[in-house]
């Protein structure tokens, strides 16, 4: 038959078996690696941004509740809603946290009875009484039942390099900084239809962009297209945006709270503007899918996330804002200013994110701008 010597075949067989054994051992090892405590306790499956549970904050939540939070990768508010609304979604996940204004529509449905979430037993969430007034207004209640509770907040504002842009420049007091021809080729927007159109509309003087007419939206699109050459790029990821500013490729951009903190930590001279049109204030709220088999455990976790200890850890590790008064009070006035935790008390103009009247039109307008 012409077969060659069996020795190489025997070696191949032994190597293959050895490899299989190693893989099997690895598979068994996997269960022992990087598993937080509470192996004997409950666990819940959650969808929430990774920044909600940095290491120290996770230890606080899991340590105080005995509940392990197994959070699946978070992609976006849209993806979160899609997973909730998909078949089996209301029972497959136990806790979700996402941008309140973006998800409350589909999550709560149009009328009572359409909710995809179950009400909280507020007796089990005593820490909710400590919510800051501005966030108490954001608690979603229907027919006397609490359905969504804010867990953390953030704000978006123009970030700029103070060594390359003078803080005395009047342009730093407006979102117009990002569109001004003086800094053409050195600014960046986020590649996001909603956020970029909102700040453009605010710059053009629309007091409430979410309620813009189609005609107003067309005007915003036209303005964006006329300024397209001013933008160095449209960033999409956290790391990309920070890199643009740190390298000086961009000296002013649409930015997040943690970006400022990350840049300052690395010695980059940057600050955020407090535009007269208002910084974009948003919060992310927790909600429990209505058929979750671990609702009580989820309530424990939510209560722990509203504790001052969690809020302090979150602010220090993720640089996002805690929604409770005690957590804010744990920071000195200077620390609050440095971390941006005084956004609700320093008298700055705030624009709270709202779902636009016609999101499809906004997405289309943004697409047209990018294609122009």
């Amino acid at each position: 038959m012409g077969r060659k010597s069996s020795k190489p075949t025997s070696i191949e067989r032994r190597k293959f078996l050895a490899l299989s054994g190693a893989v099997a051992a690895s598979a068994m090892m996997e269960f022992g690696i990087d598993r937080p405590a509470s192996a004997a306790g409950e666990s819940i499956v959650g969808i929430m941004p990774g920044v909600v549970l940095p290491k120290g904050a996770r230890e606080i939540v899991e340590g105080t509740t005995g509940v392990k939070v197994e959070n699946a990768p978070y992609v976006s508010p849209t993806d979160t809603v899609a997973k909730l609304l998909a078949p089996g979604g209301t029972s497959r996940y136990d806790l979700m946290i996402s941008v309140t204004e973006f998800v409350k529509g589909p999550v709560l449905g149009q009328k009572a009875g359409d909710e995809k979430v179950r009400p909280f037993d507020m007796a089990k969430i005593p820490n909710a009484t400590d919510l800051q007034p501005v966030f108490k207004q954001q608690v979603q209640v229907r027919a006397g039942k609490t359905l969504m509770i804010p867990i953390f907040y953030g704000f978006d504002s123009p970030l700029f390099r103070t060594d390359l842009v003078s803080e005395q420049d009047a342009r730093t007091q407006t979102w117009g900084l990002l569109f001004d021809d003086k800094y053409a080729g050195k600014t960046a927007l986020r590649d996001d239809a909603y956020q970029s159109i909102v700040v453009t509309a605010l710059t053009l003087g629309h007091p409430n962009p979410a309620t813009m007419s189609i005609g107003d939206l067309a005007e915003v699109k036209k303005f964006l297209i006329s300024k397209k050459k001013n933008f160095r790029t449209l960033w999409t990821q956290f790391g990309e945006a920070v890199n643009l500013m740190s390298s000086g490729e961009v000296i002013a951009m649409y930015g997040w709270m943690p970006m400022r903190a990350a840049l300052q930590r690395n010695g980059v001279k940057v600050t955020n503007a407090w535009p007269k049109e208002g910084v974009l204030l948003w919060n992310q709220a927790a909600f429990i899918p209505k058929d979750s088999p671990h609702a009580e455990a989820s309530e424990k976790v939510v209560n722990a996330m509203l504790s001052s200890e969690f809020g302090v850890a979150l602010a220090k590790e993720s640089n996002y804002g805690p929604v409770t008064q005690k957590a804010i009070a744990a920071f000195s006035t200077d620390e609050q200013k440095k971390l941006g935790l005084d956004v609700t008390t320093r008298g700055a103009k705030l624009y709270s994110m709202q779902w636009p009247s016609d999101m499809n039109a906004w997405i289309e307008a943004w697409g047209a701008f990018k294609a122009a």
Binding site: M1, T9, V23, P73, K83
Partner: protein, 277 residues
């Protein structure tokens, strides 16, 4: 190259120069981004990017000290190995079956290959809905493994099928004439000859599974594979060890692909030897 083309090439310095420029440009465009990542992985700076601030290996040390990375690596290896074994086994069975003639053979052939032509995001959504209807919670060895097998199987089939299809059936007939039962024919005649191709397919399948991202993102739970973990790090934070992590991932993928190619080449030689070419 034909002899006429060779003569033309030898005679024309301009043509030679143009081809050199083309070749260099091709390789620069292809590999310059990878080289840049390698350079940045040794950059002694907490910011990912230029300018360079000196040489360091601390990012590699950090990568191998990060339990999140090690855990994801184990997950990817485990899922990759299982997906490779199952997919290659199924591909072999399919390949053996497709040697025969049966009704709707052509339609079934295209059905097997459908995951290849389906966009990844559509595949992910389909799997999300599928597991939702079955009420299966996301986890590594259920939803993720099935998603990986679903993705890898068509490639494994396309790789293994030619070897199985072109197998000299007279060898099997000769063995059966000598009294061997079908299973004995497979174990002692067919499989030893196609074994290098089988192993090459497994290595290739492992590589595909290791790199799979889009579908996994829809069906994974808490346990991350390497691509999903890496993506989460890019989205959530500025991690200076990301270039080092990327280099390690590229090396693993490239090594497995190269091994698969070498074994596959050996399988071709063996196939020619057996067929007497």
């Amino acid at each position: 190259m034909s002899s006429a083309a060779q003569k033309m090439f030898a005679a024309s310095p301009r043509l030679r120069a143009a081809l050199w420029i083309y070749a260099i440009s091709f390789y620069v465009i292809l590999y310059a981004p990878l080289l840049m990542i390698v350079v940045l992985s040794f950059n002694n700076s907490p910011i990912v990017g230029f300018p360079l601030h000196g040489f360091t290996i601390r990012w590699y040390q950090k990568v191998f000290a990060t339990s999140e990375f090690l855990s994801a690596m184990v997950n990817s290896f485990a899922v990759g190995a299982l997906a490779a074994v199952v997919s290659t086994g199924l591909a072999l069975l399919l390949g053996l079956g497709f040697r025969r003639t049966f009704p709707l053979k052509s339609a079934l052939f295209n059905l097997v290959l459908m995951p290849i032509v389906m966009p990844g995001i559509v595949g992910g959504i389909v799997l999300l809905l599928f597991f939702g209807y079955l009420n299966i919670r996301p986890s590594l060895y259920t939803t993720v493994l099935i998603a990986h097998i679903n993705w890898v199987l068509p490639f494994a089939f396309l790789t293994l099928y030619p070897r199985v299809h072109n197998f000299d059936s007279t060898l099997e007939e000769a063995a059966m004439d000598l009294g061997a039962r079908p299973l004995e024919v497979f174990i002692h005649i067919v499989f030893p000859i196609i074994r290098p191709a089988f192993i090459a397919t497994m290595l290739f399948s492992f590589s595909l599974s290791f790199d799979e991202f889009v579908r996994t993102l829809f069906v994974t739970g808490y346990d991350r594979t390497i691509p999903v973990m890496f993506w989460s790090k890019i989205v959530d934070q500025l991690a200076p060890e990301l270039p080092a992590m990327a280099v390690v991932i590229i090396l693993i993928s490239a090594t497995m692909s190269l091994l698969g190619a070498l074994v596959s080449q050996r399988a071709s030689v063996r196939s020619q030897y057996v067929s007497g070419e």
